[in-house]
Point group: C2
Chain length 81, copies 2
């Protein structure tokens, strides 16, 4: 179902995609989530590892939720190398 997040890069890509789909600017998301525009930029580019609180607030401002799902066995595990 939803997109699996295993790194801050994954998170950033998902956030940016969702934001574009809603036709919002970084500053709009920032205001809704009570953070700086600069931080939204940093999150989207995966430049920083955010705190869970921050992630939840940003996602909420995009009408998204964080969910815990069983790890699906996928063929190729890049961390195995």
């Amino acid at each position: 179902m939803g997109k699996i997040i295993r790194s801050n890069k994954d998170l950033g890509a998902a956030i940016r995609l969702a934001r574009k789909n809603k036709d919002l600017r970084q500053v709009d998301v920032a205001r809704k989530a009570s953070i700086r525009q600069a931080l939204v930029s940093e999150l989207e580019t995966g430049a920083t590892t955010a705190k869970l609180d921050t992630v939840i607030r940003v996602l909420a401002s995009l009408d998204l939720d964080l969910s815990i799902v069983p790890r699906r066995k996928t063929g190729f595990d890049p961390t195995a190398y």
Copy 2:
């Protein structure tokens, strides 16, 4: 599907439940995730807001994944009071 996480309390409950189901001790999860047992305790009791990296590593050690899903229908929102 998966459990929705909207607070560190939610996360803590989910982690503890998953850990119990796998019959692991906090120190086991801590070793797998390369963190202290004390931190696992703090996370489970919701005493702290973890960094995304930490959350991902703990969940991975329990064979769980973080996923982004569209926000479910807005029935009753306890934060509205």
